[in-house]
């Protein structure tokens, strides 16, 4: 019944990656959208005094950072798909994803 052990071992890693990338990246994306709204003075539908809030450049910077992280995540996914088609795989052993031949 070694299969149960293997399934458990792969399973918790899938959960980990899923939470980090599958739920984490959308959350970062949402944070980016919130920053963008903050930058445009629209984080809430109106400012404290009822009128539109003032624009804030910090929001633009934050939004840019968030979207950059999301784009990196998408590029990682794309690289993975392309690599597996060419008989390569991503190796995360060194901390930085690198392409190696499929074992």
């Amino acid at each position: 019944m070694e299969n149960f052990g293997f399934a458990f071992e792969a399973g918790w890693q899938v959960v980990l990656v899923g939470v980090l990338l599958g739920a984490g990246l959308p959350a970062v994306f949402a944070a980016g959208i919130r920053s963008l709204a903050y930058a445009g003075g629209g984080a809430t539908t109106s400012g404290a005094d009822g009128g539109p809030a003032a624009a804030k450049p910090l929001g633009t910077v934050l939004a840019g950072a968030c979207f950059l992280v999301v784009i990196l995540g998408i590029v990682l996914g794309l690289t993975f798909i392309l690599a597996s088609g060419f008989g390569k795989e991503l190796d995360f052993g060194s901390g930085i994803p690198t392409l190696v031949d499929k074992s």
């Binding site: 299969n3 599958g22 990246l25 984080a43 998408i74 597996s84």
Partner: protein, 402 residues
Amino acid sequence: MSESLVILLLVVAVALAFDFTNGFHDTGNAMATSISTGALAPRTAVLLSAALNLVGAFLSIEVALTVTNAVVEIQDSSGAPRSEYLTDGGSPLLLIVLAGLVGGIAWNLLTWLLGLPSSSSHALFGGLIGAAIAGLGWGGVNWLGNGEELDGVLGKVVLPALMSPVIAALVAALGTWLIYRITRGVAERFTERGFRWGQITTASLVSLAHGTNDAQKTMGVITLALLASGHWSDTASVPFWVKACCAISIAAGTWLGGWRIIRTLGKGLVEIESPQGLAAESSSAAIILASSHLGMALSTTHVATGSILGTGLGRPGAQVRWRVAGRMLVAWVVTLPAAAAVGAATWYLADLLGGGLGAVAVTLLLALGAAGMWWRAHHEPVGAHNVNDDWHEPSRPVPAAA
């Protein structure tokens, strides 16, 4: 024309037909959310998905020829067919593969007619298992694998099927909850456009991954048939025409759009908003890619369905239609044994009538059955025009608006 050549041609044709059903059965996995939220027009969505499946299939430069090894024992570990089934120009092996494919297609068409998203890989594996039991006995099935990795019916089919929907639902629910928490109070003009783009991007990733994964299975099966009949000898590559035919077939199927299944996934299970669509497809993409990296063979359908269910659990106030979810669950459990039963019956019939004649007969029967289901589907057509209509549970009256 020799008998084995006739069977070979039928295997190739039926395999491509399976690839086609695989395409339209799974369109909804990637595109149901984008279609139901209106991020993409229905026709645009299926066209985009079809194009990405085509590209994905052609990207499969290195194709594993050992696809059947997961569940049945008709090949050795290099991908070469086992020599004991190669008498009469490979007819014994070709007949098992043909019967397995017939079982897979029959179940794919029936679940499509009922609008149920069931796994195409389970249907194929089920058909092969049934045909192998009929043709080779219980020993012809790889039940548990060799104990060195996740393998066999238990490791490649049963365990991933139990785990992947649960993991997907969990991740998607968490993602949905986070998104709604973070964007609470943000004006709609910012959220709507952003989440639409996010949704389309992630759905595209799922489509591309589907093209590379699923088209490969049919490429592997056709190449196995060519190896068995002596028309191909290289176990390290796939003939180009096989790759091209499979790619075109899965893309054409996707383009047709399995509207019945798209409707169930996008409207029936949960009413989806754009942020939920993004959460569902991100969860699907991350889990499909992570598990294929870790050698866990899972079904795109199970992951996508689990993710969509999860977004219903994660959004405060969203309603999950548990009756629909229950019907899907039943279909998932039944898929493997049902396809196996059809596969086994098909093999017995073909064997009874004898090689070439039997193969022709079962292929004709399959074509008749497919035409019948197609005709039945046209009584209640579901297409791009009504895929997003309001969902009413047939057996329970809709409560009047309070």
